[in-house]
Amino acid sequence: MAVLVIADHDNATLKDNTHKVVTAALAISGDVDVLVAGTNTAALGADAAKISGVRKVLTAESAELGQGIAEAVGDLVVGLMGGYDAVLIPATSQGKSFSPRIAAKLDVAQISEVIEVVSADTFVRPIYAGNALETVQSADAKKVLTVRPTAFKAAATDGSAKVEAAAAPGAQAKVHFIDQQIVKSARPDLGAAKIVVSGGRAMGSAEEFQKVIEPLADKLGAAVGASRAAVDAGYAPNDYQVGQTGKVVAPELYIAIGISGAIQHLAGMKDSKIIVAINKDGDAPIFQVADFGLVADYKTAVPELMSSLTAAGV
């Protein structure tokens, strides 16, 4: 059986999520193809061809695919599914937007946010904000999966697959792209960062959030995250949100500052390798998952942490 993986990219660079989903796909089948849909697909396709274990790379180029119009991506993939038994899609906002369209067109279930491939038809996925893990077996002829990239190791890049062009679908009549505001940041991507520094409601204002969290993140070369409470209060933009309804991260090091640790935040970061928490409430639930906890006011603790890092040569 052959499996198709949909590449994650921003029309400029191929994201690591692609390599991780290829690993999940290789657990299902040895015949794994990657589809790169968007613009700049010649360069992106060449990069995807280097992913180890990939049989073939398909590229499809159009403005609408580049804009991530879900109807366009969905139509494209449905048209290719004759040759595949399963399609694996990174569980990014973009992937989650078009993936159910493929499942609905094929009249099959979607298996969302897969974290483990048990066999070609059996998968593990988190439910109830990660408070439970569900093992499901699919009876459908074709499988449509979204895959949580943080649950899989990235495939290596010593491959040399062939690249073929696929026809892009025609223009969508009912959807029109107006514009896009993508925040340009020198910091690493939250989902892929090795270190994440997150701030919570204790920050009290957007200015304080920027003054406290961002310099620490920059010192560590880390991505910036936030709790839902901090996002709701307007201290941080929504795409910083770590949690069940935001981004799920699993970095080497997660530093939570002024975050109490609500269930839904823990669901988004509890798989981090090492968790550090600074909070002045010693009973905060975040300390139940933290490897190293410091009960202190962040106002004094963060400057101390910064100078200790400097002293340690970080």
């Binding site: 906002s93 078009f98 499942a103 609905a104 990660g130 408070n131 029109h176 929504n238 190293f292 200790s308």
Partner: protein, 248 residues
């Protein structure tokens, strides 16, 4: 303009789900249930459209047990005009929910379906997109801003790394993200008024929709527990511990 808002009764947002000892699912006996938070945001947005004079009627729909009537009453108390319960004790998968909604939509002919981006029990994030596909209506997922003008919906969406704005022709399916609005609390007079608003109950079987599950749940288990580490005395101790752990 008529707006249809599907709502789901789920475990309350603040309750921690506990896995049953026999691994067949999550224990929902004697657990507080509420409207799914993203559905609440969708109801709020629909009611605001009505208050602005953009929408003329807001219809809330739920598929679930008899107790889902409470969830529908909450929608009515927030400002929906009437409600429909498709009653079943079966737990439907997103594809089946989308098919049931398609059947309701064929009768109701709304101009806009506004719904939550995902339910916090199954966490599938699929029903809205599936419904849009089945209806061949355009979709706009993860909305953080919505304006209706000239037969079109302009939707600002939460995408990877920022925001995107799309314009979709009506009728359309729009799914709500967290920042779309902050849902109101229903006032006591509105809760009283909601008791008198129409709420139709139909049996799921009467719709003749195939809702057979496609997935077999083998087991439901608890995730590996993370144990608490140590509390340190000073910020410098964090750095030394991280050094020992090999992070730096």
């Amino acid at each position: 303009m008529k707006v249809l808002v599907p709502v789901k009764r789920v475990i309350d947002y603040n309750v921690k789900a506990r896995v049953k000892a026999d691994q067949t699912g999550v224990d929902l006996a004697n657990v507080k249930m509420s409207m799914n938070p993203f559905c609440e945001i969708a109801v709020e947005e629909a009611v605001r459209l009505k208050e602005k004079g953009v929408a003329t009627e807001v219809v809330a729909v739920s598929i679930g047990p008899a107790q889902a009537q409470e969830t529908l009453r909450t929608s009515l108390a927030m400002g929906a005009d009437r409600a429909i319960l498709i009653q079943t004790d079966q737990d439907l998968e997103p594809l089946a929910v989308a098919k049931v909604l398609r059947a309701i939509i064929a009768e109701e002919n709304p101009d806009l379906v506004l719904m939550g981006k995902q339910a916090i029990d199954g966490d599938n994030n699929a029903t809205g997109q599936m419904l849009s596909t089945l209806l061949d209506w355009p979709q706009a997922t993860f909305a953080s801003e919505l304006t209706i003008e000239g037969g079109k919906a302009k939707v600002t969406r939460e995408v990877d790394g920022g925001l995107q704005t799309l314009e979709v022709n009506l009728p359309a399916v729009v799914t709500a993200d967290l920042r779309l609005n902050e849902p109101r609390y229903a006032s006591l007079p509105n809760i009283m008024k909601a008791k008198k608003k129409p709420l139709d109950v139909k049996e799921l079987a009467s719709l003749g929709v195939d809702t057979a599950p496609r997935l077999k749940v083998i087991k439901v288990t608890e995730p590996a527990k993370r144990s608490a580490g140590i509390k340190v005395e000073a910020a410098a101790d964090i750095v030394s511990n991280l050094k020992t752990s090999g992070v730096f």
